[in-house]
């Protein structure tokens, strides 16, 4: 593809998020801001007060007796199937029946004329539950063999023999925590019944098609009765991929059964109790290394806490095991991924989808190797990067680009001024009685595409009107990530018009059907191409009209600056649109795209499942108080490969935001369950996401320059949603550096709260004073 000419608003322009000004004036409408339809009822969920038990049929009369309550529904009232499984491969219920499997599990839905009455109705229910002992940890699940699905194992070479033959053998165990999405806008849906069984379902969802399917399954109707619409979400991060579906289905159920519009908006507490989170992981590994720190063999088990049901855990484990070696090469390896079943909320998609958890493994292995050899961990990275003198192929058979790994690493290290600061930090640490500084790096290779091959498809619908204005619709959803403006830029580029000519519209199953979720960082890759196809089809028809009019070759036509030109001929884009209409030429087209060249054999666990990889590297410095474990990230230097960025302003925002979100997961965000399995961190007062002071005070970011994607991506751009979240891993490494002198890295589980940092400092001190 030729390099397109620079454009004010087309490809590569640093435009702002499509609704930015309306966000700032409060005029951008989120779902709860829509005018309330007449007769609206409000809904509230009744949630299980225990983690595990046998549930007697729930008496709904106490809820119905509360003033203002109109109706209450449990599993018996479901006209279709009480089944919300996103994969369709597991028994996952909308309302518990016979058995409760986690604290906070939905039992029933109460609808009332006011939200407070609905909440009071739900609170009036008295479920009878005979409690059973819950499984509340990954260890307990492993002991009981409680798994949600068979293990996923990726292996290469004779790892057992290579382990036995290695000059040194090391091992380790550690864990990382889960993460609440904490989208600022909680889960919400508004169902409006129409005539003859039609239902309009407004949903704050990343996956309108799945909302449609699951609502239809619960109602027992055809998909074509349900239209799902989403203009914008107040954040998603994976939390509105499968979880939005059952919330919308519950609202749809109540609307169908009452014949009235129903809104279900979860309170923050209910949202945090009843919706899934990032999977916590427990890691156990054994490795064989040589005297120079090359990792020769590795056998690792990555055990994820999937919660009580399957949800999307299969995909999360897939991504964890395919990313367990990250940017590194280990010749002989076995990676075993387990989805453990516990009596906690069913864990789900969260930005990175198991990839961030997978990539932690090699960090711990390299720390283990560094400890065994008494060398700095960063000295072992280049020795083990994939490509170069090492193998470039992942254990499942897809090639990594070793030159890009080395390039992002070298550039980040140069930006971080590593050599000079290492010396400065060591001098500071020697002099200060209570504070320590630490420096840590990280390099990343993240595969782009859905792990389920069929999901790598997208559709778009473009109309050109006779005044030359354009209406754009596609299957992607806007959750703040800037997808809508990026796709509009693609269309602007095709038509050679300013992006202001393009009307961005709400995602709707009525306009583009059978879509994939906006997830896996694929939003602009997939929908960008689909919109490109649709716009190009219209452009070709328009070009034919102009070519005939001017008696020139269609190839001689140029669409630019809002005009169509050929030699001395010129016409406004709108004028040509009018001409097309007059000549009865269609100005509307659908576009469709399927990612080429990807394949996966889930039995052999081999293939080339990713269209390409995204690369990045980062360094962080921390300042740690050895007296209290308090710390601060003082500086970060990031280099991220975005290919040829579609929109550098949007990409920068994605990278910075992902980095801080990743930091939150690894540092201050901790989900805390009590011994009875009740989540006690149910709001921002107890669950602490990063605030502005957590941003590294020196925060440097560069997009990798002159690096167009090698795969045939849309305008040679690369995905940016998830990969930079992993870059925050450098903060973990910086903390490990700070809490330990050379070669004595103590275990530091995640999240690395001040409490864990202080404990690690004490362990480090014990190592130093034998």
């Amino acid at each position: 593809m030729d390099t397109p000419p620079p454009s004010r608003t087309g490809m590569g322009a640093a435009l702002r998020q499509d609704s930015a000004l309306r966000h700032a004036t409060g005029e951008a409408r989120f779902l709860d801001d829509l005018p309330e339809p007449p007769g609206l009822l409000h809904a509230a969920l009744a949630l299980s007060p225990v983690a595990h038990g046998s549930l007697a049929p729930l008496d709904l009369a106490p809820a119905r007796a509360v003033p203002g309550v109109v109706a209450a529904f449990g599993p018996a009232e479901v006209p279709g199937r009480n089944d919300i499984s996103p994969s369709g491969k597991a028994a996952e219920v909308l309302f518990a029946t016979g058995h409760v499997a986690h604290w906070g599990q939905p039992l029933a839905l109460v609808v009332a004329t006011t939200r407070d009455a609905a909440l009071a109705g739900a609170a009036a229910l008295r479920p009878e539950i005979a409690e059973l002992p819950p499984i509340l940890s990954i260890e307990a699940a492993l002991e009981e063999g409680a798994l949600l699905m068979p293990p996923q194992v990726i292996a290469r070479g004779d790892w057992e023999e290579a382990l036995a033959a290695a000059p040194r053998r090391i091992q380790g165990e550690f864990r990382c925590g889960g993460q609440e999405h904490f989208y600022l806008e909680g889960q919400i849906a508004l169902a409006i019944p129409g005539e003859d069984g039609d239902l309009l379902l407004h949903s704050s969802t990343q996956h309108p098609t799945e909302v449609q399917h699951i609502a239809a399954r619960v109602l027992g109707c055809d998909y074509n009765r349900i239209t799902v619409q989403c203009r914008r979400m107040g954040g998603g991060f994976g939390g509105k991929e499968s979880n939005a579906s059952w919330i919308a289905a519950a609202a749809a159920l109540a609307a169908r059964l009452t014949g009235r519009p129903v809104k279900l908006r979860l309170s923050r507490r209910a949202d945090m109790a009843a919706t899934g989170k990032r999977h916590p992981f427990l890691y156990r590994w054994r490795a064989g290394i040589d005297a120079r720190g090359r990792v020769l063999a590795l056998d690792a088990t990555l055990a994820a806490d999937g919660g009580h049901s399957l949800d999307l855990s299969g995909g999360v484990i897939f991504r964890a095991v395919t990313h367990a070696l990250n940017a590194y090469d280990v010749p002989a390896v076995r990676i075993t991924g387990l989805a453990c079943r516990t009596n906690t909320v069913s864990n789900t998609a969260f930005r990175g989808f198991g990839g961030p958890q997978g990539a932690l493994l090699m960090e711990d292995v390299l720390h283990g190797a560094a400890r065994a050899l008494g060398v700095p961990v960063d000295s072992l990275r280049e020795r083990n990067f994939a490509g170069g003198p090492n193998g470039a192929e992942t254990p499942y058979g897809q090639a990594l680009e070793g030159d890009l790994i080395r390039r992002v690493w070298a550039e980040a290290r140069r930006d971080a001024d590593w050599e000079a600061r290492r010396a400065e930090i060591d001098a500071f640490n020697a002099a200060h009685p209570t504070l320590r500084r630490g420096l840590g790096g990280f390099a990343l290779a993240f595969g782009i595409s859905f792990g389920i091959m069929a999901m790598n498809q997208a559709g778009a619908l473009v109309h050109v009107y006779t005044d030359g204005s354009i209406r754009l619709n596609h299957g992607g959803t806007e959750m703040g990530q800037g997808l809508f403006i990026k796709i509009a830029q693609v269309v602007a580029e095709v038509f050679g018009v300013e992006v202001e000519r393009i009307r961005i519209t709400a995602t709707s199953t009525a306009e583009v059907p059978n879509t994939a979720p906006t997830a896996a960082s694929t939003g602009s890759d997939l929908n960008g191409w689909a919109a490109h196809q649709a716009a190009s089809a219209i452009r070709a028809r328009m070009a034919a009209v102009a070519a005939a009019l001017w008696k020139v070759e269609a190839a001689a036509l140029r669409f630019a600056d809002g005009r169509v030109t050929a030699g001395n001929h010129a016409m406004d884009f709108g004028e040509l649109a009018q001409q097309c209409w007059a000549q009865r030429v269609s100005l509307s087209a659908t576009g469709f795209y399927r990612t080429p060249d990807i394949h996966w054999d889930p039995v052999a666990m081999r293939g080339e499942p990713f269209f390409y990889f995204s690369y990045g590297a980062a360094f962080a410095e921390v300042l740690v108080d050895t007296l209290t474990g308090e710390y601060r990230v003082t500086r970060a230097d990031l280099v991220q490969d975005c290919g040829r960025s579609l929109n550098p302003a949007i990409d920068r925002g994605q990278i910075e935001g992902a980095f801080l979100q990743g930091m939150g997961w690894l540092t201050c965000e901790e989900l805390w369950w009590d011994a009875a399995g009740r989540l006690r961190t149910l709001g921002p007062s107890t669950y602490k996401i990063p605030g502005s002071r957590e941003m590294p005070k020196a925060f440097h970011l560069r997009l990798l320059e002159d690096s167009p994607a090698r795969a045939n991506t849309i305008f040679r751009s690369k995905a940016v949603g998830e990969p930079p979240l992993l870059l925050a891993t450098c903060v973990w490494n910086a903390l490990r550096d700070a809490v330990s002198p050379l070669g004595e890295t103590p275990r530091l589980d995640l999240p690395a709260t001040p409490e864990r940092v202080l404990a690690a400092l004490r362990r480090g001190a014990q190592v130093r004073q034998p």
Partner: protein
């Protein structure tokens, strides 16, 4: 004096219908179609933490107080001037703050943006550090860099303050709910004696949660924010007299110029957020008597005395330590109101340290809070008052640790001995903010830090320093 709640909303006088529940949150009323019908202000958490519901109270002196609309009750808003995001600008005429947020790429999903715009608008006038201005606003998308850049670029728009009509004492009666808003202490004490069961509402940053998050609807509320006597604040050479209704924001402004109280000022800047400090009061924190009330350890270490008032018996004075009788229990009689706090200032040469351990530096509830007052003689510690929060059922002194320091030399070993003694003084508990072991080790670490503060005042000792 039964009346209607009246205030200025975006510069326009509003008089609410008499049946409007005075205990409704400002946020619920703002957003409701039958309330203000202004959905620009968002609900993100309903617990005063995320800041999506931030609106600004415009004061007659021109100052701007950001507050959490989710915690503010309508009855408290009587006589105030409220500005929401819609009242700044919009459509074809956005306010420069709104324009700067959009043009600075400081919004992604946009849900937190209206609240941040309001915090930014207040900040443009109030000044201070951008991080401090943003401490009460969470953004999950941007990573904050562009937002901080916008805050640092803003200039005051010079808009004149509105002049809300003066208000007298009032009583708002809706079906099932009465809100008393006395204007004098005498009235307040009479109401307190007559209705001991009524919610005693100061800033409402704690009680407001029970309405906003837990959807309680109290039958009777005694709102104290209009009581003139409780608003008195006097700075004397040796002490402060702080009316129980003085907000943290006002207290901070008063002590900011006082070098001897600089550690307390820095500590109070970590208490909640600007939104919380704009409503919350010292009197409220004492009345709540939570073991993790951040205001309590400094009151204990400095030896504050409370002035308690009742209609029947007039005033009595009580040291803070005697006032706190147990977990959320106090010596306040059912007919009494906390009128004022007498806070001695540190004696010349003494070292005051106020410390807080929390998972996040800003807007977090303490795992451990502490205040230390150390008096030094010639190489010897003459006096030590050590007070902790989060380490027992109440905020409390640590007598054994204090004893270990008094008459001991200013040496690391003395503080090691005090740290060891602390384990005899206090038995903290496990919860989501920290394990008992961490709380003890962290508190001991704070004592060790006190040594370095005394011995090496030249050293930077805090990671946020």
């Amino acid at each position: 004096m039964t009346g209607c709640i009246a205030f200025l909303l975006n510069g326009e006088p509003r008089r609410l219908p008499p049946a409007t529940p005075p205990g409704l949150t400002l946020l619920d009323w703002l957003r409701a179609p039958d309330g203000a019908g202004l959905p620009g202000t968002k609900e993100g958490c309903a617990e005063g933490d995320c800041g999506a519901c931030t609106v600004v109270l415009e004061e007659a002196d021109g100052s701007r107080i950001p507050v959490n609309a989710c915690l503010a009750l309508l009855g408290q808003m009587h006589g105030r001037a409220i500005r929401t995001v819609e009242g700044l600008g919009g459509g074809a005429a956005p306010h420069p703050v709104q324009r700067a947020m959009a043009e600075g790429d400081a919004t992604q999903c946009g849900f937190c943006t209206p609240g941040i715009v309001m915090s930014a608008w207040a900040h443009a006038r109030e000044g201070g550090a951008a991080d401090e201005a943003l401490a009460g606003n969470l953004c999950r998308c941007t990573g904050y860099r562009p937002i901080l850049a916008v805050l640092e670029s803003l200039t005051d728009d010079g808009a004149p303050p509105p002049s809300p009509p003066p208000v007298e004492s009032a009583e708002f009666i809706a079906p099932g709910q009465v809100f008393h808003r006395p204007a004098s202490l005498a009235e307040a004490l009479a109401l307190r004696a007559a209705h001991p069961e009524a919610w005693l509402l100061a800033g409402g940053t704690d009680l407001g949660l029970r309405v906003s998050e837990h959807r309680e609807r109290p039958g009777r509320i005694l709102g104290l924010s209009g009581v003139a006597e409780l608003q008195a604040l006097a700075v004397h050479p040796g002490r402060l007299r702080i009316g129980a209704g003085v907000t943290y924001a006002r207290l901070l402004k008063a002590i900011a110029p006082l070098p001897d109280l600089a550690p307390l000022a820095a500590y109070l800047r970590r208490l909640g957020s600007r939104q919380i400090r704009g409503m919350g009061t010292l009197g409220g924190n004492l009345g709540t008597a939570s073991p993790i009330g951040d205001a309590l350890p400094p009151m204990l270490a400095l030896g504050a005395e409370l002035v308690l008032a009742s209609a029947a018996r007039g005033e009595r004075r009580l040291p803070v330590a005697d006032f706190l009788t147990g977990y959320r229990r106090t010596a306040l009689a059912p007919d009494e109101i906390i009128a004022a706090i007498d806070l001695p200032r540190p004696p010349a040469g003494a070292i005051l340290a106020c410390e807080k351990l929390s998972r996040r530096h800003d807007q977090d509830i303490s795992a451990v809070s502490a205040a230390f007052l150390l008096r030094l003689g010639e190489g010897v510690i003459d006096g030590a008052r050590l007070a902790f929060g989060g380490m027992a059922a109440t905020a409390t002194h640590a007598p054994a640790a204090e004893a270990a320091l008094v008459a001991a030399p200013l040496a690391e070993a003395s503080f090691e001995a005090a740290a060891a003694a602390l384990a005899r003084d206090l038995t903290p508990r496990d919860d989501w903010r920290g394990s008992a072991a961490y709380r003890m080790r962290g508190a001991q670490g704070l004592l060790r830090r006190l040594y370095w503060r005394a011995a090496r005042p030249d050293l930077m000792l805090e990671v946020q320093g």
